[in-house]
Symmetry: C2
Subunit: 212 residues, 2 copies
């Protein structure tokens, strides 16, 4: 009985170790793919390029992902999780303007990584092409949009902000402005967080008609 | 003498006609290239793809543009002219908010063309890659930025808006927001001009601290 337990433990540990390695290698492929997509675009990057970047043979890489589409799908899933975590920071009891501004600044910090923003620009370009890749990423957007709607509606119900005349357009334009700033901060060295923040506050206060 | 004049006129007319054809064919290549770049990206699109789109043989196409770089350069020059024309609409004697909003709406209308916005997204992606292509387009941006600065400074001097604490960040963020909206209106069917306009006014009024 003791021996059998010990054997089970050894097998489980080996399984765990193998799984760690599998997960590590999978992560390594995804990191390499992100770098390649940021550099060459989803369409421009080839599986060969990703293999070279990951220092893996095509045979090894195909054990983790059977196709470029499967890699893109996995990256979209990662992005979905990251976006969900960032929008959650909008909740809380602080004044709405502080929460919204804090969330936007958190997103800018996340996007300040050149790889993340290049990938985001590439995702934006694909969304406009109305391709399968674009549609996959559009679903992430829907989740963010719904969370913002909840937050705005709660603030209106509490009387913190006046009713919003066109909720959908207001959310869409706020998200668009935030995305635009997230991208521009990379190519514009003047747009450091301490200089973005006051202008961002004025922008949000204007859109939501918050008296400051 | 009369005969010679007539001959000169005929030769001049033929020359004019040939030039018109040359210009037309050149334009045809550029339109085809825009479509290819919007679809496949600057890096993804090949000269073969552009030839097929323009229905020209490589030999014919190379008579107009020796390389993909030369085509991109010509497109950048077109973009520069378009951007300059759009920012000029910001000048005038109407209230600043109307002029700014009118200019932004004009830009959105221009970008509503799916090809124009896909190309713009692709240009944005290249800017982040800090490539030669990106740098070429960054110069267009500088011109727009300087025109906006002039307009803002005039409005401050006239006492129409309060002094702006951080002019560069304010201009950068306004341009970033406008670019973000120009892109998102394509993938978000709710962002029609009549719904963008009121939110845009609130955004601009907030950023520039215009009492409305």
């Amino acid at each position: 009985m003791a021996v059998r337990d010990e054997m089970t433990a050894v097998v489980a540990e080996q399984g765990g170790r193998m799984q760690a390695t599998h997960e590590e290698r999978r992560r390594q492929v995804l990191d390499a793919a992100r770098a390649c997509f940021a550099r060459s675009g989803f369409r421009g990057a080839s599986m060969q390029e990703i293999c070279a970047e990951a220092r893996m043979s095509p045979g090894a890489l195909y054990r983790y992902f059977p196709s470029k589409e499967a890699i893109i799908e996995a990256i979209a899933e990662d992005e979905r999780c990251d976006a969900a975590a960032i929008v959650e920071t909008m909740r809380g009891t602080a004044p709405l303007i502080d929460r919204l501004c804090g969330c936007a600044m958190g997103y800018f910090a996340f996007m300040r990584d050149a790889g993340a923003s290049s990938l985001m620009a590439e995702i934006g370009a694909e969304s406009l092409r109305n391709s399968t890749i674009g549609q996959r990423f559009a679903r992430i957007d829907d989740h963010v949009r719904e969370t913002i709607r909840e937050i705005f509606e709660e603030a209106i119900a509490r009387g913190e902000i006046p009713p919003i005349e066109d909720m959908n357009a207001t959310i869409g334009i706020t998200m668009a402005a935030v995305d635009g700033i997230a991208l521009r901060q990379i190519s514009d060295p003047e747009l450091t967080p301490d200089r973005i923040e006051p202008v961002m506050r004025r922008l949000i206060a204007g859109v939501l008609q918050i008296r400051t």
